[in-house]
């Protein structure tokens, strides 16, 4: 090693922090949990934000629903409808939830919660028990829904062209106006704005 800086990481230290779970199941701890246990924990620790059936509440994320509508307008993206790998739920819930009290769930509790979220998404039966052993067997509906970034082939050839400078359009019409939507925080709105007629209906988009 060129600099000789730092110190060797101890096995216990690596174990404490290296908790990521990969799509093939590497990183899963020993343990198991079933849907009904998961439901109880969920009701207790999760439902306040995510809804009793993981359907979401207000602006808090929905974890269930939305299946088979990814090609529709404004799809609902949830663990069931969108997430390609079950590993992601285990990894994320174990390290980051419940929000405000992260890292407090045991491995068995996380298995149970993931089982319950699968159940809420109609992906397993009420009797289902999730464990390290059967984790890989769970089929995620949108597992094949992702492709690698293809902007280089799909977009760059279109945009890497000489820009038009004159007579680029026949006519120009205003088709949409933010003012008609009126969702800009008021304290930041400009002092004077003209009174004009709304042009089109627009809607708030989803979170960043």
């Amino acid at each position: 090693a060129p600099f000789g800086l730092g110190r060797a990481a101890l096995p216990e230290e690596i174990a404490a922090w290296d908790v990521d779970v990969l799509p093939d199941g590497r990183g899963l701890p020993e343990g198991q949990g079933n849907v009904l246990t998961g439901e109880a924990i969920f009701t207790d620790k999760c439902a306040a934000c995510h809804g009793d059936f993981a359907e979401g509440r207000g602006n808090w994320p929905a974890l269930a629903g939305g299946q088979d509508m990814l090609a529709d307008a404004d799809p609902v993206k949830t663990v069931g409808s969108y997430w390609p790998h079950l590993s992601t739920s285990f990894d994320y819930i174990r390290r980051s939830m419940p929000y405000g009290d992260a890292g407090t769930l045991t491995a068995d509790e996380v298995y149970a919660l993931v089982a319950y979220i699968l159940y809420s998404n109609d992906l397993v039966a009420e009797e289902f028990t999730l464990s390290k052993n059967n984790f890989a067997a769970v089929q995620m509906p949108n597992a094949d829904g992702f492709l690698r970034d293809d902007r280089d082939t799909m977009e760059l050839p279109r945009w890497q062209v000489a820009p038009c400078m004159e007579d680029c359009k026949e006519s120009v019409n205003v088709t949409m106006r933010a003012l008609s939507l009126d969702v800009t925080p008021k304290d930041a709105a400009p002092a004077t704005v003209p009174q004009q007629t709304p042009v089109a209906n627009v809607e708030p988009a989803s979170e960043p």
Partner: protein, 397 residues
């Protein structure tokens, strides 16, 4: 050209009367050991959009780009995006682990990091969701809100490559997984090529320590790539043979196309620009005559080479003046000095980078990506400047 304003009818009291600031004494040099903007600039602050998220803790705010000029973003008003809030982590409590496919898993203290060779670079950091609310059409009336999820700072840090070499990374490790010390951990997988290329483990921005809200004491800087990869409060770097497919790179920061399939690993930020003034929060305060049109341009693939400006909604274009030659993955400031005739204009800007990429229109983008995108909206923005100087966010045909 506009006629010069008429001479004042009577002498201006601000000139001919004694003024307190010219008679008395101002503040001494012990008054503000660390200063803040003067009270008259109290509107030049980060703002958030309450309806956007369930709470302010997993949320975003916006740089007041409509009121800034030049290219450097002061840390104090540079946008923030947290997934579980801005945490307080001291240098003493800071640890950085490098593990996985390495010869020697290591733990570094903050002081250790300061012993590695450092680099300095100015880079922009743009949230992939910048302009995301505008996918649905013209929504938010202000450049701060439509384009303010961006900042541009001079970073000082250690090349990630040096830390990987220090641990002896295995060439079989094709990925580097990085995560933060906060509850969200915000883990992301970065291909080894990028990790070895220009990624920095940074501890200073604009000369001073990172601010708490930007990852004090250590964050990752991933030049040209979406801000979510710029992990704050960086605590662990793992060399892996496969991406982790974490929540931040599957549930979020993926891009759903019209057919329902989704792009993943859309890391690079496409070339983009926006006119910062005039803009809805920066109306034109004067009549016809000289008017400075200015804005920002950037590209995640390289340096900005040219920016064009249209005053007629894209029917015709003029090439603007770049304040300085573009540098890779950093903001460029452009200016177009015009004689405004006092009638309405539809203002647009169009960035070009050194790969020959020309910023597309929103219509062009939607034709390729459909209407369900959240991220990577780099379409051309239109501002409608009215004769009274007010400006609104619109879309045009």
């Amino acid at each position: 050209m506009a006629a010069r304003s008429a001479a004042a009818q009577s002498p201006d009291p601000l000139i001919v009367e004694p003024q307190p600031w010219a008679q008395g004494l101002g503040d001494g040099v012990d008054v503000t050991p660390y200063g803040l903007p003067i009270r008259f600039e109290q509107d030049v602050v980060r703002r958030n959009v309450p309806w956007l998220t369930a709470d302010t803790i997993s949320s975003i705010n916006f740089t007041p780009i409509h009121a800034l000029d030049g290219t450097i973003t002061p840390q104090g008003c540079a946008f923030e995006r947290h997934h579980s809030g801005a945490i307080e982590l001291s240098k003493q409590d800071y640890r950085l682990m490098v593990n996985g496919l390495v010869d020697r898993p290591l733990v570094f203290t903050y002081a250790d990091l300061e012993r590695f060779p450092r680099e300095n670079h100015v880079y922009f950091c743009e949230c992939a969701a910048n302009s995301g609310m505008e996918w649905a059409g013209a929504q938010l009336n202000g450049a701060q809100f439509t384009h303010g999820m961006i900042h541009n700072m001079e970073y000082t840090g250690v090349p990630l490559r040096l830390l990987l070499e220090e641990a002896g990374y295995d060439p079989a490790g094709k990925w580097v997984y990085v995560e933060g010390a906060d509850a969200s951990s915000n883990g992301r997988s970065i291909p080894m090529d990028k990790a070895l290329d220009d990624v920095l483990v940074a501890f200073k921005a604009n000369g001073e320590a990172l601010r708490k809200e930007h990852g004090y004491p250590v964050r990752l800087v991933v030049p040209g790539w979406e801000g979510n990869l710029w992990v704050k409060w960086l605590r662990r770097i793992e060399v892996t043979d496969a991406p982790v497919e974490s929540r931040e790179e599957t549930s979020k920061y993926t891009d759903t196309l019209a057919d329902g399939s989704s792009r993943k690993w859309t890391w690079a930020m496409d070339a983009k620009s926006v006119i910062t003034a005039p803009s809805p929060q920066s109306p034109v305060p004067h009549e016809a005559g000289p008017l400075v049109i200015t804005g920002l341009a950037w590209s995640g693939r390289g340096a900005i080479t040219r920016v064009d400006v249209s005053t007629d909604g894209g029917a015709s274009w003029q090439t603007a003046r770049l304040a300085q030659k573009g540098t890779p993955m950093a903001l460029s400031r452009f200016y177009l000095d015009v004689q405004w005739d006092g009638t309405e204009m539809l203002l647009q800007s169009r960035a070009m980078d050194d790969t020959g990429y020309v910023q597309p229109t929103k219509t062009q983008l939607r034709a390729v990506r459909g209407l369900n995108s959240v991220y990577h909206n780099n379409g051309i923005q239109t501002w409608w400047l009215h004769a009274d100087g007010s400006v609104e966010n619109v879309e045009v045909s």
